[in-house]
């Protein structure tokens, strides 16, 4: 599979243009991938990264421009053609079939067959060969359904699948968005190893540090145009950020002036079960004060989600109490909690925070169904709701045609801004924000962060859950680290390094001397995932779907 280094670039895209209706997703983009290198693609949401790579992978036809692979011009009508030319893509949303086994997922579409029956043992040999060659550890799990695994394993399966199909040009579309810091490290490591065996990689990401860490070359897209291509060792985060958004972006942690007041939200000994009836939160105590942001950090699946859903009233609490404003709210329904002043920005804007095929007016009513002036004694005042939607759109800089646009027509960042606006304008006493900037571009991240900080300064109690350490560190006044359903530690963001946080999230308290043992580590994590199961949240960013009950 290794190719001779001929000096010809592995992939050359020349002047690629692609339109969707009147959106020019790619505008005469040139792109070159050199043999045996990692080439990062950066750009804000909607800048055209996925589109460009989908063209290379044969999912879309370009309107104009040419694709040259290994010096030969190519026409890809389908991914099958692209695969034959050695191009494989690991999608932002994993393309796995939950109930099928790891092995079946890997060979799907390329099954070896004898006498009309699939020859799984032949496939097994091939896969084991690939695993040992690229040092993947998934061959132990070949007969387990993929849905039993966490995202890290799923991603490795995706990579092996691509390699199994004979790809040596691998496209990774935002592979790190859903991974824990440790998994990200492993992935980057793996990517370097792949280039050593002769593969060429395209790496789409929003994270500048990752691009700098692993890439040889970096191309920045903005509004469908290629702004520049630079060598990774000749640029900086600041420069890349400037290219992406077209202006300077501040990343520094701001110091705060206000002093936190009395505790508003108190949680004592709370226990919460996850979707599969297993306890995910095992006795958590916390108190959030007025004018304070409490950050909750943790690797996904350690109960953060269940905890805040318990507080927000979306999940029953099996033990312990929740007090809000000195009143016990443990048994209040979700609706009563909304009414009493708890705002909640959900992790999953697509399925929870918005009704995708409602327009923004009807979405503005979501959660406000019992709140005047929008509704009085059960009757909706639609004109008041309409005004409300327009106010959110204006004040929170939501890019939408008008209030009657459907939510689905908004990009992810704009959807998020709309939700943030709606929740803040509810004038709450407590704001709970879960992964408030996931998948949001840098400009919008800054905007949302500033809004949250303003809330704090206005004296609200704010809880932020995030797996992005940089976000947690920037926003929080205190950071609680959650591990296996408990707070393993509460730390001061000014006195902790990212490395220390990372270790805490991996379950090691600060005084333990952390001797790194990679292999051990992976097995731990896997065991974790298979026994405990990945709880809600994991599936939201992948298309591997888990059991969906009854309904059609």
């Amino acid at each position: 599979m290794t190719r001779k280094d001929s000096g010809v670039p592995t992939v050359r895209l020349k002047s690629i243009t692609k339109r969707f209706g009147d959106v020019v997703a790619n505008d005469e983009i040139d792109f070159t991938l050199e043999q045996g290198t990692v080439h990062a693609l950066l750009g804000e949401n909607g800048s055209g990264k996925t589109t460009l790579m989908s063209i290379l992978y044969g999912l879309y036809d370009q309107d104009s421009g040419t694709i040259v692979v290994d010096g030969e011009p190519r026409e890809f009508d389908s991914p099958r053609d692209a695969m034959e030319a050695g191009v494989g893509m690991i999608h932002q949303h994993f393309q796995l079939v939950g109930p099928m086994t790891v092995l079946q997922n890997i060979i799907l579409g390329h099954e070896p067959a004898s006498n009309g029956l699939v020859d799984e043992s032949a496939a097994r040999d091939d896969i084991e060969a690939i695993c040992s060659r690229y040092r993947f550890d998934i061959d132990r799990h070949l007969d387990t359904p993929i849905r039993d695994f966490d995202l890290g394993v799923r991603q490795r399966v995706e990579i092996v699948k691509t390699l199994y199909r004979g790809a040596n040009i691998l496209i990774f579309d935002e592979p790190t968005a859903v991974l824990t810091p440790q998994e990200v490290d492993q992935l980057l490591e793996m990517m370097r190893e792949l280039t050593e065996t002769g593969c060429s990689l395209v790496f789409i990401t929003h994270k500048l540090d990752e691009a700098l860490a692993v890439a040889d070359q970096i191309t920045v897209l903005r509004d469908g145009k290629a702004i520049d291509t630079v060598a990774a060792d000749e640029t900086s985060e600041q420069e890349l950020a400037r290219m992406m958004v077209g202006r300077e972006v501040l990343f520094d942690r701001e110091s705060r002036e206000t002093v936190p007041g009395e505790p508003v939200l108190e949680v004592n000994g709370v226990r919460v079960d996850g979707d599969r009836g297993l306890e995910q939160v095992s006795g958590v105590d916390l108190a959030v004060r007025e004018g304070e942001i409490l950050g909750i950090a943790g690797v996904q699946g350690n109960g953060q989600n269940e905890l805040i859903e318990g507080i927000a009233g979306l999940r029953p609490v099996t033990a312990g109490t929740i007090r809000f404003d000195d009143k016990k709210i443990t048994d209040l329904s979700r609706r009563h909690r909304i009414e009493s002043g708890i705002a909640y920005i959900p992790e999953d804007r697509q399925t929870e925070g918005l009704v995708q095929d409602y327009d923004l007016v009807r979405n503005a009513l979501l959660g406000n169904q019992t709140i005047s002036p929008y509704v009085s004694s059960g009757i909706i005042d639609w004109s008041a709701v309409h005004d409300h939607a327009e106010t959110i759109i204006d004040e929170y800089d939501v890019q939408a045609q008008n209030a009657n646009s459907e939510a689905i027509s908004l990009s992810g960042g704009n959807q998020q801004k709309f939700i943030v606006g709606r929740e803040i304008m509810r004038d709450p006493d407590v704001m709970i924000a879960s992964h408030p900037t996931r998948g949001v571009d840098i400009g919008s991240i800054e905007f949302i962060h500033n809004r949250l900080l303003e809330l704090r300064d206005a004296g609200l109690a704010v809880v932020v859950v995030s797996s992005k350490l940089e976000e947690i560190q920037r926003l929080s006044d205190r950071i609680a680290v959650m591990y296996e359903g408990e707070f393993i530690d509460v730390v001061d963001p000014d006195k902790v390094t990212e490395e220390e946080l990372g270790l805490l999230m991996a379950g090691r308290s600060r005084d333990e001397s952390g001797e790194e043992d990679e292999e051990m580590h992976i097995t731990e994590a896997n065991k974790d995932m298979t026994t405990k199961g990945t709880e809600k949240g994991d599936d939201t960013d992948t298309t591997v779907t888990d059991s969906r009950d009854g309904g059609v």
């Binding site: 999912l59 879309y60 393309q95 939950g98 799907l108 029956l117 969906r548 059609v552």
Partner: protein, 349 residues
């Protein structure tokens, strides 16, 4: 998936099946019923016959649903299968139609249903028809045009007596006690159903096409990005489901020897039971066939009870399978429906 794995995965289902059998047994011994008079060889044969149409329909339906298309029109396809077979038998053989006329009808009817199913598949897949509604429509169309055809041909919603299929009798072996009449003096269509069940199981779990069907229903994009046309896989599965349901109707008619179009027609809810059978069988063809046998057996058990003089209100006893269906669905409503069922798939082209 091998049988043992299936069995362990579906402990609950087997448990429920066993429980139903057990309850019947307890009932039988409680009332000191003449067990030997109830569980006769004839009873088993009739149960197999009653199960065959349901099993065929269930297997077709599960293929469609596994591939991501909920074909709730199977009841309608059964009606068409039954009426077509009756009509062709009549056209070929008249009132004195024989076995050859019947076989010709079985084959021709299957071809005609194939065309119907193709049209249906085009509507479902190419024109993205709402699967629930289109399926119900097929039922309504069957309920209308089935009897319509009967009235055209015979001036009545019911056909006259035509021909029913002869048993396949193997001379010496059929004289063996119990297994003889059960296995060697058997309707060829029952035999076909058994073979079809096994074949459907092999195809689903051990061939490439089977893999693709599963992927098409769970995550069509994964299949698409693997370079397999989701659309083609679904076409094949939907057409197959229509044909199988049609065949179910055909078998029903070939065993009865005539077509009845009054009321809910002679199909009378068997298509719906077929759907439940594959849910009960957890989308496994063999599981579905066993569930069909359970439903067929329950129906026939009721008759055995009458024969030995246990007089239960017959109209109520007939409801037992329907109640069983509800109980079964509720006890584990968590029957996992393939994720992408009901969503039309459009490849990104």
């Amino acid at each position: 998936m091998n049988i043992a794995a299936y069995a362990t995965q579906n402990r609950m289902r087997f448990g429920a099946g066993a429980a139903i059998v057990l309850v019947s047994m307890v009932f039988i011994s409680w009332f000191d019923l003449p067990l030997a008079d109830i569980l006769t060889v004839g009873f088993l044969t009739r149960s197999l016959q009653a199960a065959a149409p349901i099993a065929l329909t269930a297997i077709g339906g599960l293929y469609a649903e596994k591939s991501g298309v909920f074909n709730i029109g199977v009841e309608g396809f059964m009606i068409f299968g039954a009426v077509n077979t009756a009509a062709i038998t009549w056209l070929v053989g008249g009132k004195t139609a024989g076995q050859s006329a019947l076989w010709i009808a079985i084959l021709t009817s299957t071809l005609i249903i194939l065309l119907f199913a193709l049209v249906f598949a085009v509507l479902m897949i190419r024109y993205k028809a709402d699967q629930i509604v289109a399926g119900l429509a097929v039922w309504l169309i069957g309920l209308g045009f089935g009897p319509f055809m009967a009235v055209l041909l015979w001036g009545s919603q019911n056909s006259p007596g035509l021909a029913s299929i002869d048993n396949l009798t193997i001379p010496v072996l059929s004289k063996l006690p119990v297994v003889g009449p059960l296995l060697f003096n058997i309707s060829p269509l029952v035999l076909l159903t058994v073979l079809g069940t096994v074949a459907a199981w092999v195809v689903l779990y051990h061939t490439r096409y089977g893999y693709w069907i599963q992927a098409a229903g769970e995550n069509p994009e994964a299949l698409d990005t693997a370079g397999i046309s989701v659309t083609r896989v679904r076409y094949a599965a939907v057409i197959f489901s229509g044909v199988m349901a049609g065949l179910g109707g055909t078998v029903l008619m070939a065993h009865a020897g005539s077509f009845t179009g009054t009321g809910e027609t002679m199909v009378s809810g068997r298509g719906w039971i077929g759907i439940v059978a594959y849910l009960f069988g957890n989308y496994n063809p063999i599981g579905a066939a066993l569930a069909a046998l359970l439903f067929g057996g329950l129906d026939m058990l009721q008759i055995q009870f009458q024969t030995v003089g246990i007089n239960l209100p017959n109209r109520l006893v007939n409801l037992f399978p329907y109640i069983a269906v509800i109980v079964v669905l509720t006890i584990w409503g968590s029957t996992r429906v393939p994720s992408a069922v009901g969503e039309p798939y459009e490849s990104e082209e």
